[in-house]
Amino acid sequence: MMYVDERELLAPLAGAGESAYARLRAGLAERADREGLLDVAYRVVDSPVGQLLLAATPRGLVRVAYASEGHDAVLARLADLVSPRVLRAPARLDVAARELDEYFAGLRRRFDLPLDLGLSRGFRRAVLTHLRDIAYGATESYSVVAAAAGSPAAVRAAGTACATNPLPVVVPCHRVVRSDGSIGRYVGGAAAKRTLLALEAAA
């Protein structure tokens, strides 16, 4: 008989089981949620700007991430910053997913779901809080945002706060553009920013 490597011999056991595994994970997330052991629930939804990762703590939606940010990397970071008890638990994000659907369909102008801004502190948090007051379809310049957040001189910092917004789309950093009218940069890429602004202009 030919020599076979141990792992090669066992390879048939190493693959497969995807459907059973998905079912087990779902069951685990449910039980963990019931027992208060689920600190970060997440799911991935499709959208016109690509797949979005949604993550929530018991306090509210804590993170929205574009595919370009690397969903695995974002989850690993949440495990470090919030809690390693991170599980895929779609039901916990039903409301967020539905509101995003409505938003992308042009049917929703404001998100009214609880948010957990715990990933942001200080000036960045002040900026995020102000961003929520920029009306649907409107835009503001970075300098106006800096002033509104309490530090008129902190224009660059306002830009950084937008670039590091943990809740893009829901906290509308896409509504902040450069004072010369050009679109500026965006965490999900300039194309995604254009898509969102065009959507809001059309609705």
């Binding site: 008989m1 141990e6 011999l9 190493a14 089981g17 087990l24 685990l28 052991l37 008890r85 599980l87």
Partner: protein, 152 residues
């Protein structure tokens, strides 16, 4: 933790029947979620999870026998029940489950969970050399029983 979920499930399946494996997996991860805050940050998470799974497996056997059994005296035969429906190779799964418990566990912990022989020995009791021997014996038996079945 999720990174290790699939590996731990493979281990559970190799050492238990399909249904017991799923129960053991769920119990393992619930226990792990409860205990996570006490885990030292530099720990080997996969080895830790397999350790919990091993204890769950041992507990399961004990409960079924309704009598206390030292972990070194787990019955060798696994109850019927077949492999999980989507395990690719039923013959191999059967061959693994036909191994004596120590060999089966040593093979699973070493080759499906990639644990060191030192960690395997700690779980199974006995020396590192004994763990190495158990895994080697198990693999040798699998080569004979399973590969022969396949190759004419």
């Amino acid at each position: 933790m999720a990174d290790h979920g699939a590996a731990v499930l493979r281990v559970c399946r190799a050492i238990l029947g399909a249904q017991d494996a799923e129960d053991a997996w769920s119990e393992t991860f619930l226990a792990a979620l409860r205990a996570y805050p006490t885990l030292r940050p530099d720990s080997d998470v996969r080895a830790w999870l397999v350790t919990i799974a091993h204890r769950k497996a041992v507990d399961g056997y004990r409960a079924r026998r309704r009598a206390p059994t030292p972990s070194s005296e787990i019955p060798d035969r696994v109850e019927a029940g077949g492999a999980a429906p989507d395990v690719a190779d039923e013959a191999l799964a059967r061959a693994v489950r036909a191994l004596p418990f120590k060999q089966r566990a040593a093979v699973a912990y070493r080759y499906l969970a990639d644990m060191s022989y030192r960690d395997v020995a700690e779980l199974l009791g006995g020396s590192e050399a004994a763990a190495r021997r158990s895994a080697a014996d198990g693999i040798a038996t699998l080569r004979r029983s399973y590969r022969q079945e396949e190759t004419p």
